[in-house]
Every structure is written in C-alpha cells, then in structure tokens.
Assembly symmetry: C2
Homo-oligomer: 549 residues x 2
C-alpha cells in the first residue's frame, strides 16, 4: 500500500480559515493598530532593533486589497523538532501566494535553517505540495537544528536570497527560532536587502505562548495523541487492576504537555516541574506524595494507578540539580580517568562518597542503583551527566517502592513504564491544528504581501469556531525581553512556563486530591477527523480554561 | 470532565449485526449443517467428550424462531488479557437476552473465572450496561487469569449456577479459555446440570484462528493502534532523518501482530518469530540482516530507519533457547548461591564461561553486557531466567551496532527504542471490532436460546460488509487436537502461528527487500469511527489477504 486510506482521505479536507480571510485575496485589507513596545527592557530592545522595533500590531479585515502588485519569491524553513501541522503552514503559505499571483514562487529550504545557508532547496508546485496537505511530519522539506544567529550566517542568507530573487523568508519554529527570525529581520532591514522575515509559532511543548500567541501549533495534536495513549493505559490499568503505570511525556523545559494530558485523562498523580521548582521539592517528597496515593488506594482495595511525569522534572528538583553539578565537577578533566580506572562499583561508590558534599551524597544514596550508575557511566562528549537520558519514570517508581517498604506497606506494588514522545510529534494534525496551521501560513503570506518585516503570523481567539478567529501580525520585538543566556545578555522571546496561578493549573490543583484517591480516569480515545463537531474540533482543555478566565 | 466527548459520542453508535440477525428475535431460525469431527485425533477427542463431540455446525437464517419459550438466566465471564470489544460482546449478549424475554437475566462474574468460583457477581441492567457500549477495556466486570480446568472447580461452578438458576455461561477468552469452556461444557452435560457453555474468541495476539475462526476480536483495534504509533514514529524518523527506531510490539507466542503492523506501515525491517524458528536463525544472522539495511540505506544517504520486533522473538531463536536452558541449569539449586557469592561481574563471567557449553558461550559472548547481566541477575521465583523481561529491542539495536563496527561502518548510527503493548489492548474498539463483538455476543445468546452447549459463537465472512456476515455456531470439540502440555496429553484448541506459506507472510516476503532499502513508510493514522466507510470499516490487511486467496 503506497498511501494509507486516512492519508488519501485527508487530502480532501479543506482547512477552515478565519472568517476575515475567506472572501478571497482581493478582499483582504489591513487594519493597523497601536505601535508596540517590548514586554520588558524596552530601551535595550529598541537599541538592538532600530529598524524593526515599535512597529504596529496589524489585523486583517474584509475590504479592498491595497497591496502593491509585484511578483513575490518566498522561501520557507522548518526549524527544530517536528510538530503536527507544519505541512499545512507551508500549504497555506503556498495557496495564498499562488492565489495572489500565479507567477509567485515558493522555495523550500531543505533540512532546516542549514538549507538556506547551503542553498539546498526545492521549488514547490501543485503536484508536490498536494501530497502533504493535512498530513503530519516535516518530511515535506525536512527540518534541522542549525541556529541562524551570527552576522556571517545572515550575510550568506542575504546572498542566497539575492541569488534567487527571494524577497521574503518564513521561519517556522519555536521560541529560539522566532527570536532568531526577529534578529534576521533586523539584519535584512539594516542592510537594505529588501528581504522580509516572518515567523510562525511551532512547538508541541506549548512553551511558546504569551499574550499574543495563544498556543503554538502542534501542541493540540501531540497532547491529544499522548492523552489517547494515557487513556488507553488507564483503561487497561482499571481493567487488569494490578499495575501502577509510570508514564513519562515529552516536555523538558515546561510541563504544559503533562498538565494538558492530566486534564484530559485525570490520572492519579501528575507531577508539574514548575511546582516542584517553586516549592523546592525534594525527590523524597515527590516519592512520598506518590506513595501516599498508593497506600490510600490500596486501603480501598485498588492496587493500581497511573502517574504522569514530565520529561524534565528531575532538572527542576533543586537538590538534584546541585547533585548533578557536583558530579560534573567530580569527574571534570583527569578525575574522570581516575574514576574510570577503579575496577568495581564498590570502589567507585567510595570515590563518589568521598567527593560529594554530605547533602548531595544523601540525595545520591537514595537513588536506585541503576540510576546511580547511569549518572556516572553515561556522559556526554563534554564529560557531563546526560540528564535527559535519566529514566525518571523508573527513578520515581523505584523510589516509591523504597518508600512503601520503609512505611511497612507489604501489599502488591507492581509497576510498568512508558515514555510517550516521538509517537505524537508527527501524527496527522487534528482539525484544530490543520486549520490553525493553514491559517498561519496563509496569513504569513498576507503579511509578506503587505510588506511587513519582523512580524509573527498571529491567529487568535482560538477557542471560538474558526470563522471567528482573528488573523493578523505582531512585531516579534514586542514579545522580547533581555535574558542571560550562556553568560551573555540576549534579546529573546520569553519561554512560557506553567503558571501556578493560571486557570489550567488551578483546575488541576483543585481536583488532584480526589484523582489521587479515587479512580477518575477519563478516556479521550483517538483523534477524530470526521464526525460530530464536539468530538472533532475541540480545542485543548488548557486553552479552554485560559479563555474562560 | 467525567467522560470524554468521544466516549459520550460512542454511546450513540449502533453496532452493525450480520444481515440474518437484523430482523428481530422472532425472525431468527436455525439451520443445522453437517455433524463435525475434531481437526485431528478424532478417536481420543471423541472419547474425552462423549456428550459434546460430533455435534452439528449451525447457521442462523431468517425464519420463524422455533426456540422454546423459557426464562433464561445467563452468566458471562471475561478471561485473560484485555482486548478491545469485550464490552460489546456483553452488550450484544444482554440485548439479545432482553429482546427475547424481559425477565431474562444476565450475571457478570467479576475479575475473571475466579468470580464464578467465588460467586462474586453483578446483575446487569440498562443503566449499568449503557455506560460501556462501544468502549474499550474490560472494566465492566474486570478480568482475570484463573484457569477453570479441574473437576473440583467445575463442581463449584455448577453449584453456583444452580444457586442462581443460571442455565448458561458465556466465556470470553483466548485459546486456553475456550478449550476450558469446551471441557466445562462436557462436564455440565455429563453431570446433567442443565447448564450450557458457549465460548467467544478473544485475543489481540491473533493466534486464536482456524478454519472456523477468521479472526479473534481485539486484533483489529490493537493492530490499528500500534500501526498508528509505528506510522507516527516512521514519519518522525523520515522527518528528522537521524535515528534508527527499534519498536517491539506485543505477541509472545506468535507474530501476527508484528506482521499486520508491518503490512500497514511498511517498516524497513520486521522480524517474524515463526520464520526465525523455521530457518533456525541465529542472533548474529538477524543482526546481520538489519545491519545490511543500515549500510545499504546509509550508502543512499539515509541514516535512519524503523525495525519492528515481535515481543517473543528471542524465544524462537534456537541457539538462544539452548543458552537459556543451560543458564537455568547452571543456576539450579545451590549453584545459584555460589554464583551470587562472587563479588564482581568479572568473577561471575568466569563462572559462566566455565559452566556453559562452548556453543552457548559463543552466543552469550556476543550479547550486550546489560543483557548478559540481566540473564543472570533477574530470575523468577523458580530461579529461571525471565525471558519475557529481556528488552529485545535493545538487544538487537546493540548487536547491530557491534556488527556495524565489525564491518568498518563509521557513519551515524543512533538508536531509539519503543514498546507498544498496553497502549492498544483497551482502545475504543474500531467499528469492525464494535460490530464483530456485538454480533458475537448477540449470536451467543441465540445459541443459548436454541439449547446448544459446547459451541463457539461464530461470525464469519468478515472481510465483506457486516450485512453479509454469517452468524452461527461451531462445536468447540471440532477445533481440538491432542497436544503435549506440561508433560500430559491434553485436548486443546491449536494455537495459530503465522503460516510462512500463507498470503499475509507471502506478501510481506515479496516486498521486504524493497522496504529494507528504500523508504516505503505508510502512515495509517489514528482509528476513525466516523466518516468515509473506506476509512472507518476497513478490516485488517491480514484478513483481506487471507480472503483474497
């Protein structure tokens, strides 16, 4: 079989545009709003972006198209990790571009930003692009993690654009990539290259979010896919009634994914990294919290449950971060050789005990042996502990087991482990993401056509039906502040963490005690693309709760 | 949220019955076919089942219902691992039972066969059963793995039935449970208990299949769920272009699941345990086969791929089975203490080298260290190696790495690992499984109503639309043969392995060379319950190919 039946069928789906973009290109007019300021550090940001700072927010409305008629050649880049809907951004961009002028051309740079630097591209046509409509993945042109951030790279980019007559670049990426899009836009303007740069907000992690970006694309589909799986595991758990399932979900820097999945599936426990950091929780406290649920449920005859863990949680545990820093120090340079020369784990353990502070040794001592060994045996090329490789789902399940033993719990406690990440990044985009992404791309071209530079394609009012969505653009500089990164002050778009006083967390907090003791599992099932609107077009619970404020 | 929107919506789905069952209870008549014989060992089986052997195959047809009017009290049991659709078997059974006579009652024995022995039950009513229509899981009454097989258990079962006036038991289970249903039916007949026993074919593994059972229920939904995930991982793989993903799927005794997933997703490599056994393949040969694909693809610039591995494959590798047997022997009794007293892995390794035959030591030596240690350190209560715990996805990815190094391959080879099992056993049943299961349950009651005992509920012609399905019953003894189990000759339903001369494997075999070298990934996406028939009601490729014969 060349194509799945669903893929064939999805080709026929017509993504829904915001109402104001539905009247045809000739009927899209611009309404300019207020001049903008960056969210913080205005003077510094303004100084860094003399050409692109302070521009006006814009909204598209129904009205005569007043843009200048000229041939446009546009380039598009997919940057960073995959997120469902990326193909539709490209399709929307292509359709608006071709609808405006059949001679317009869209270049796709291959393998991420490096494609622009290496001048590695394809030119889209109908036959090619139609194969990717409403599909998951970034295989349309591939993606990559090269960062576009140095003046040397910018100069090459400008040259490549000049060579092909490219007048605009659309960068589809996360917070870093959109920050860099802003910097590139400034460069292009400062150097009178005539190239516009437009960003599009992508990331399944959901941490590219602010008062202008209601949600990054891909979050909807990815969390629905993980919730499908968590719900299925919950139902298995509640049928077999014999296992505690520890489920890790993607999301290293923020816990939006875990939180949304928890809201959708109501597991017994869900850890939220931001809360762990705010409350300075220890590993032991976390394990105790889970053990409480195990014991309470066992008293009710339920020797089973589900725990959801965000991928990055251990990095938010203060004592654990200190331990990692000490281990990195302990093995720096030639000390690693000394350590490696020790023959047995016993000797190595003594070496470790000798080298760590008492506080860190206490943390180290309660870790399961497998994790202890992993911390010392698997290190990255710089000799540092590879925190991302730590199987935190196993770490916590074992620590809970130890807690239970300490507390004299002698009943059944059997565990199973899962990690859901790669399963959700390339799913067929939900109707929401199909619509949202297509709109972002379509809208991006309208920003180009109207001559804007350094803008983010913005589609908002997303918890309403698509007909009521609002399309427009926001200067990227408006979202920036100055942060210290790698020892340097840099203008960046702030990464959005879960807000502990936000509506989604508050809802979770108000319900979790009940979820921990009872079985309140909810089973979302697989993403549906056809059928009743309430089943197919539901936004995330996070978005719904945020908009209910 | 109490219920997901999909769950609420699925309550409204009306499962499709076979055409002949659609005219109402009053219009269901029986057509008796030929008397049957067991598939093998006729004399022995006949002697063991004097009361239930040789009965006629029956089919339901449109015609006047001639069954005797009497109140029926029926019990139902879910046996063994979860499979999507179990709830619908109960719903179909309940609906036919209530449609026949409002005073009829359905008892659900809780937690599997042990519920019958412990007299632990609930009595279904509309309000309760409606909460489970078209949903996944076995949480309606729970399931369990107690085997009903001894005369003592049968006597208790008969007593419990008598106490409640139960005149029929429906057992929903796999090959073992249906074998036991046949034995229980014989007991009930031999002892004139007046209790009928009817079996229903359940297992996601797909290994309860023969000329009468086209497919066990749950296989369709489970393989579609795994294929969704494998397809998503493939798309991620083909977008990021930097990893080899090793994906293990459930299925210890047979590879139907892996094969169906491979047919749906076209990975680069899929191992089939039955082929490994038939060709007496070594671990090294398997690793070489995968390494071939890695190298060929790398030569074409593709440093990525997907390998699907059936859960039980290592148990089918002859040399590995010998090794496991030797290890069990090596650690039997007090020898385990001697082994455990050795302080370092080095000493332990020497002990192992000393104890194994040269051939097995050769196999042991090529295993990754983590697997070597696992074989010796984690043993079951009887001191045996826990083969099911072996992470074969990691075993093969590491062995392939070693092969590549041996062969001088110096390019990128980065791996990721997945195991898909619990994610699929409790998914919302596909329309196919919703319809099939409801029909099996409805049909089971018609068999009861017409007085049959020791029959399996049979619904066939399943690759056609449901209106053309054929409903009826087959004596369980017809599927039996004598096999040696735990040192005893026993009458059992034969477990169906993947047939290497069957159409599904032949199709796979004809295409796999291309799949190994090129990127032929297919992305099935999530199971759809609404929308176009070709998307929602598609049977498995295995079934389609088998019926195309």
């Amino acid at each position: 079989m060349e194509l799945s039946v669903l893929q064939k069928s999805r080709y026929d789906y017509a993504p829904k545009l915001p109402g104001m973009l539905r009247h045809g290109i000739a009927e899209i007019s611009v309404k300019e709003g207020e001049e903008t300021q960056s969210v913080a550090d205005q003077e510094q940001i303004k100084a860094l972006f003399p050409n692109t700072y302070g521009k006006k927010e814009i909204t598209f409305v129904k009205g005569a198209n007043t843009s200048a008629a000229k041939k446009q050649v546009v380039g598009v880049i997919l940057s960073g990790g995959q997120a469902p809907g990326g193909h539709n951004v490209v399709c929307g961009l292509y359709d608006a571009l071709k609808a405006t002028n059949k001679d317009n051309e869209l270049y796709g740079f291959k393998g991420g930003p490096s494609g622009l630097l290496d001048d590695d591209y394809l030119i889209f046509d109908d036959a090619y692009i139609n194969k990717f409509r409403n599909t998951g993945g970034f295989d349309i042109i591939g993606s990559g993690r090269t960062k576009l951030e140095t003046p040397e790279q910018f100069a090459i980019a400008a040259e490549v654009c000049k060579k092909h007559g490219i007048t605009a670049i659309v960068i589809i990426g996360g917070d870093d990539s959109n920050t860099n899009a802003g910097v590139l836009a400034e460069y292009m303007a400062a150097n009178n290259t005539g190239v516009q740069v437009i960003g599009c907000p992508k990331t399944i992690d959901g941490d590219l979010k602010n008062e202008d970006i209601e949600i990054s694309f891909g979050f909807d589909t990815a969390t629905k896919t993980y919730s499908e799986l968590i719900g299925n595991v919950e139902r298995d758990c509640n049928s077999a009634k014999k296992y505690w399932h520890f489920i890790k979900v993607m999301g290293r820097s923020a816990s939006h994914v875990a939180l949304e999945c928890a809201l959708q599936t109501q597991p017994n426990i869900c850890l939220i990294s931001e809360e762990v950091a705010a409350k300075k929780m220890s590993l032991s406290q976390i394990a105790d919290q889970i053990a409480d649920s195990v014991i309470t449920r066992a008293e009710k005859g339920m020797h089973f449950g589900v725990v959801v863990i965000p991928e990055g949680v251990v990095e938010f545990v203060p004592e654990f971060s200190v331990l990692i820093a000490e281990i990195n120090e302990l093995l720096a340079g030639s000390k690693a050789d000394e350590f490696n020369s020790l023959a047995s784990w016993k000797e190595k353990y003594a070496f470790i005990k000798d080298g760590l502070t008492e506080a860190s040794m206490k943390v180290f001592a309660i870790l399961p042996t497998a994790i202890q060994q992993q911390l010392f045996l698997e290190r990255d090329p710089h000799g540092n502990v590879q925190v991302s490789l730590i199987e935190s789902e196993k770490l916590f399940s074992e620590m809970v087991g130890a807690k239970l033993a300490e507390r004299g719990y002698a009943e059944r406690y059997a565990t199973l482990h899962h990690f859901f990440g790669y399963e959700g990044r390339c799913a067929f985009p939900s109707n929401f993401d199909s619509d949202y992404c297509y709109s972002l791309g379509y809208n991006a071209f309208m920003l180009i056509q109207y001559g804007y530079n350094g803008y983010l394609s913005k589609v908002s009012n997303l918890s309403a039906p698509a007909s009521e969505w609002v399309a427009g653009g926001m200067p990227i500089t408006k979202m920036m502040n100055i942060e210290r990164r790698h020892g340097e002050d840099k203008p960046v778009i702030k990464k959005a963490l879960v807000e502990l006083d936000g509506a989604p967390f508050k809802y979770f907090e108000a319900n979790r005690a009940k979820w921990a003791e009872e079985t309140c599992f909810t089973y979302p099932g697989a993403i549906q693309y056809y059928g009743p609107t309430e089943v197919c077009d539901l936004p995330t619970i996070t978005l719904t709760l945020e908009h209910a404020k």
